[in-house]
Symmetry: C2
Subunit: 190 residues, 2 copies
Amino acid sequence: MLSFGQIILASKSPRRQALLHQIGLDFAVIISGIDEDISIDLPPDQLAEHFAREKAHAVAVDYPDQLVIGADTIVVFDGRILGKPKDHEDSFNMLSTLSGNTHQVITGVALQLRDKNLDETFHEVTNVTFNTLSDSDINYYINTYKPFDKAGSYGIQDWFAVFVKHIDGCFYNVMGLPLANFWEHINKFG
Amino acid sequence: MLSFGQIILASKSPRRQALLHQIGLDFAVIISGIDEDISIDLPPDQLAEHFAREKAHAVAVDYPDQLVIGADTIVVFDGRILGKPKDHEDSFNMLSTLSGNTHQVITGVALQLRDKNLDETFHEVTNVTFNTLSDSDINYYINTYKPFDKAGSYGIQDWFAVFVKHIDGCFYNVMGLPLANFWEHINKFG
């Protein structure tokens, strides 16, 4: 349906790669090496866009004739950003905090095609409500799924799905890429 | 985490099988042969429960010592039930109707373990909002994905995801099994 010469995904996330495959895009993966420093003083939605832009830019400078996709997903509870957990204890604390509550998942997406002066960044917010988690649920999850590469310390597409009671917004945004919003933007370029 | 002797899924849906695998359940698949006659005069939520119960019952009578799961997913727009499309034209009409609008997906779930007198049925409703679909989007989708085995004529887990703007409720309910609600019920038995 789309006619880009080449697309590059500037993200090592296997979830994002799976989502792009799901919607039939061919792409290469080139990792940006950008470090996500969540201590930067920006509101969460701007921070997600900032990292997405940085990731896309770092790759786009070397591939100016290709469409580069950068993305960054941030989990926010009560105004506080939850990054990727450092260790078991950090993961336990995050999931205890999120238990029985509603949090926000924000994904920033940047699209850059330098030779055509295309440079667009947007974000999407989804509200996610968890059922109450027991300590043993949390420990079982951390030990079995080791969610240390995931913002907020859970993967909505794995066993943890059993605790996700309610979504308000785009589901795929929670997995790492807001497919419907992304599709609208990318079609403007196509 | 659960300790059933055996679990039987009374559904041929590959999506439901994938969801049970996702949450780590071992199960056998035995298809009930129940025909979904959507002309039965019941409100949609009761109809979904009715079919789920019928499917579970048809298998449970032969396997009284095993936990049998029946499920049925119904798509409702403006009070009208959309079943599985008969052909391309029917599919086209359904997707045109749903384009740019919000509809309800209702999954009924029945759990039966006859030797222990366990017999429970429940349902979950999710609101799903589509972006506007062009005729060429719809025709491309039908020709490529042949969604004739899907109520409402779309699969939220395939390319069609690009048109799903908003979910209000349980995402997995739209795929065919409300995992969080299911998990709560099944743990009462476990």
